[in-house]
């Protein structure tokens, strides 16, 4: 029996001790005496959240396939254990070996949301690792970070030795090979960072100097080290069909957010919604072949014993062979092994309802509609590409298909939004409810349960709205109040996000390097688990902004000029800034842009030489690609 870092007394005094013991089925154990690279892979949130994240499983598997590397998991200890570890001075450990991560070669964060920045500091603190890169000598692990948040790495630039921009499969193995060689050769950390700075996708923040204009915007962002590249090119896996995929994912003991195995249908999204960062940074769309998905589905179920498989993507209705693969899975795993198939992220129309009808036969879970905006005008601004009629037809089909629980997602504070647009959210929701009562009595499912949720729009880097001012917190609250008064609460339940969290998120999303000091200050005041409403304290942040001289409006509500140098401009995602600005203008003009399935808007992603830019969703080569 392998050892546990925490004794019985501590484990039995905290909630869910199974978060900290490792030992799950398919967890990887290696003899540390025969390992060259110890890699601590961290998702800086609680176990149940981190273990539901596919990206973590992909990297864990990718690194552990290497004989020379032992990759282990680290999550944020929940607050109860966090306090005990500080009290008893127990250093943070990795789940597999249960050994302190202070002694590892790498500590790598996958950064999925801005509100986890203080948790990253907490992880370093608990591990006994100095926060700032400049304060860490060569005996500490090299701290790196990847994930969607690092497409603007600047707010956490001071803490991280290097960022990996893009998908791990391409160059992460290369930088580990290099590490091993240089470690054996006795090279220093600086020499190593200089060597990897020459590899595509690697950004070493210490190798760049930022100078500012008087108004606080950036005047220049320049390498100060000859090894550093002026532009960092996003790395993506072009052949997702044959890419490394975890076929034996870890099976948690405790219930995680998603208690199931997942398969990716494709990466990227061809829709081109203007608010959506994922839709831009993961361009171009790259589909995985249905054949390999079928094989992997079977192996995943066999290797984990899960009874649910989820086919995920950013917009699953766009997968060319969705019907075929779904029916295949129902006939094989569904019929033979009682496996449920789940299809999130579908557009609600008769085609997808028919598919859902097949996968769930009797049990009707709730359906999610994401019109994002209430008025057609706003949906055109954001290039949502769905009409009111389509939404209402979808609702009608859902009710007549027997679904009675609908969840509707909208955003408040989108660019160009007026109070009429806010009211239109209520109008559309009411029209959806109306569809239920239009059905003849005998065709109606039992009383509908309609939940409307609104989040506040936060403009993100690398989207057409990166120039757009974020709405003020006062406006957010006012709009939410107005919607609350307008919506018919007898038939609809209304939930809204917290406005203060959106302010912090907005500052971080489009933030610069000056914010590292702010995040540090907020952490020192006690900020942790900021994405959890029970722990989030706005006061910590207000004080931290004041102490570090940060005006939040500079980052959130300020109007940006077309030629402003953004903190993230040095990253090249393939999609050009010119294209994004043009899309911003189109938005203001309420003009739609064609999506990648129907045509090509010449965004620039053809530089990746593959995916949907060259082949459409039915595998047919696009004819006019040379005009790109």
């Amino acid at each position: 029996m392998r050892k546990l870092r925490l004794n019985d007394e501590i484990l039995l005094s905290v909630e869910k001790p199974a978060r900290y013991i490792g030992h799950e089925v398919n967890a990887i154990y290696k003899d540390t005496d025969n390992i060259d690279i110890r890699f601590a892979l961290c998702f800086a949130d609680v176990y149940e959240i981190g273990m539901s994240h596919l990206g973590l499983a992909i990297i864990y598997d990718l690194l552990n396939k290497r004989e020379d590397t032992f990759c282990e998991r680290v999550f944020s200890p929940w607050m109860d254990l966090d306090e005990k570890m500080r009290e008893h001075k127990i250093p943070l450990f990795a789940l597999e070996s249960q050994e302190p991560i202070r002694d590892f070669d790498f500590l790598g964060f996958t950064v999925q949301y801005e509100m986890s920045y203080t948790n990253m500091l907490s992880v370093m603190d608990l591990a006994g690792i100095p926060f700032y890169s400049k304060d860490r000598d060569d005996t500490y692990p090299i701290i790196c970070a990847g994930g969607p948040c690092v497409y603007n790495p600047e707010p956490i630039a001071d803490f991280i030795d290097f960022f990996y921009i893009g998908e791990a499969e391409t160059n992460l193995p290369t930088i580990l090979d290099l590490y091993k060689d240089m470690k054996i050769a006795g090279k220093t950390k600086l020499e190593y960072l200089e060597a990897i700075a020459e590899i595509d996708g690697i950004y070493v923040p210490a190798f760049y100097d930022v100078s500012y204009n008087e108004d606080g915007t950036i005047s220049a962002f320049l390498p100060n080290n000859t090894h550093a590249k002026p532009r960092i090119k996003k790395q993506i896996l072009m052949d997702v069909t044959n890419g490394s995929f975890p076929e034996k994912p870890i099976v948690p003991y405790i219930q995680t957010i998603h208690d199931r195995v997942v398969l990716e249908l494709f990466r990227g999204c061809s829709r081109g919604c203007r608010f959506c960062q994922a839709g831009m940074i993961y361009r171009p769309v790259r589909e995985k072949s249905a054949q390999i998905l079928k094989e992997q589905a079977e192996r995943l179920i066999k290797n984990t014993g899960h009874d649910e498989i989820s086919l995920i993507s950013l917009s699953s209705s766009d997968y060319g062979e969705l019907k075929e693969i779904t029916e295949y899975l129902i006939d094989t795993l569904g019929k033979e092994k009682q496996v449920n198939i789940s299809l999130p992220s579908l557009r609600i129309d008769s085609f997808s309802l028919e598919l859902m009808q097949k996968v769930q036969e009797v049990r009707k879970s709730s359906l999610t509609f994401a019109p994002e905006a209430g008025s057609q005008r706003m949906r055109d601004v954001i290039n949502k590409g769905i009409s009111e009629k389509e939404i209402l037809d979808g609702a009608k089909a859902a009710f007549s298909g027997g679904w009675n629980r609908l969840k509707l997602y909208f955003m408040l504070g989108l660019p160009e939004e007026t109070m009429e647009d806010v009211e239109a959210i209520a109008d559309l929701s009411h029209a959806i409810v109306e569809k239920y009562y239009e059905l003849p009595k005998e065709m109606r499912p039992k009383k509908p349960s309609i939940v409307v949720s609104t989040s506040f729009f936060v403009p993100k880097p690398f989207t057409p709205f990166q120039w757009s001012p974020q709405d003020t917190a006062e406006n957010f609250i006012m709009k939410k109040g107005h919607l609350w008064r307008t919506i018919d609460k007898k038939t609809i339940k209304y939930n809204a996000h917290d406005a203060e969290t959106s302010v912090i998120e907005g500052v971080m999303a489009r933030g610069d390097r000056k914010l590292s000091a702010t995040i540090m200050a907020a952490y020192n005041k006690g900020a942790r688990f900021d994405s959890w409403s029970e722990f989030f304290k706005y006061e910590y942040w207000v004080e931290a902004f004041a102490e570090t001289g940060i005006d939040t409006n500079f980052y959130t509500t300020r109007v940006r000029s077309e030629d402003e140098v953004f903190p993230w401009d040095f990253i090249d995602i393939g999609v050009s800034k010119k294209f994004l600005y043009n899309e911003y203008e189109q938005a203001k003009a309420e003009e739609l842009t064609v999506n990648c399935m129907e045509g090509c808007a010449h965004c620039g992603a053809t530089i990746y030489k593959g995916g949907i830019c060259y082949v459409d969703k039915h595998g047919v080569e696009k004819p006019d690609i040379n005009t790109n």
């Binding site: 039995l12 089925v25 290797n303």
Partner: protein, 233 residues
């Protein structure tokens, strides 16, 4: 007990298993989920319930307190087709996480499945700060009264002496056989607290390691749920 050749449908099987090490920190519901997945990985032909949401048919006897290890846990399961018991054991063990190990399996007659409800005793071995305990001294008391919280939150006095079936020092540690089950359930830490109080030793749960050895359906003779005899020494 039925033998392997007398298979009938449905097939009820009782397995005895160990739950040790890190697995001590897996609660009862998570243990159930773990077995569900283990049976699926092991391709056990387990029977499913009818209805909207079919689930595997099995149940676990006497949920173990979190933190306590055991070498004598029991699970009854229903198979839809027959399977050699040795194959069943090795299939489950090959698919189980480290810390769970099946050590025996028997075929049950349908009515014996109710045996879960007939659990009467459980045996534990305690190690740690046990050397000074005066077992005879405690047991010579007329009554051993403890206060217990009832489900409604009220305090209730209870004499646990009739529920202590055996209390012996052995080479492996202090062995206790205690009344268990739904009517009169005594947990080992309650007895440890009394043993400490009797010699004025300060009680700390973490001065002791507790291992459940077995669960019995009758206490005299000491027969466990798969029909093996369990002796206190």
């Amino acid at each position: 007990m039925l033998t392997n050749t007398e298979l009938k449908s449905p097939i009820l099987i009782r397995i005895k298993f160990e739950k040790q090490g890190a697995l001590r920190f897996i609660g009862h519901l998570d243990l159930m989920r773990t077995f569900q997945k283990t049976f699926r990985r092991a391709d056990i032909p387990i029977a499913y319930s009818e209805g909207y949401n079919p689930h595997q048919i099995f149940s676990i006897a006497s949920p173990l307190t979190l933190g306590i290890g055991s070498v004598g846990e029991y699970l009854d399961l229903k198979l839809k087709e027959s399977m050699d018991l040795d194959d069943l054991i090795s299939a489950i063990n090959n698919a189980s996480p480290e810390g769970i190990k099946v050590t025996a399996a028997v075929m049950l007659e349908e009515k014996a499945a109710a045996g879960m409800a007939a659990v009467l005793g459980a045996s534990y071995t305690i190690t740690g700060k046990i050397n000074d305990f005066d077992l005879d001294g405690l047991l010579s008391k007329e009554t051993i009264t403890v206060t217990k919280k009832t489900k409604k939150g009220k305090l209730k006095e209870m004499d646990i002496k009739p529920g202590i079936f055996g209390l012996v020092h052995t080479g492996d540690g202090l062995v206790m056989i205690l009344s268990s089950g739904s009517t009169f359930n005594i947990k080992p830490d309650v007895v440890l607290r009394e043993l400490c109080a009797f010699i004025n030793q300060e009680y700390n749960r973490f001065d002791f390691q507790i291992m459940r050895n077995d669960i019995m359906m009758g206490i005299n003779p000491y027969v466990n749920l798969v029909g093996e005899t369990v002796t206190p020494i």
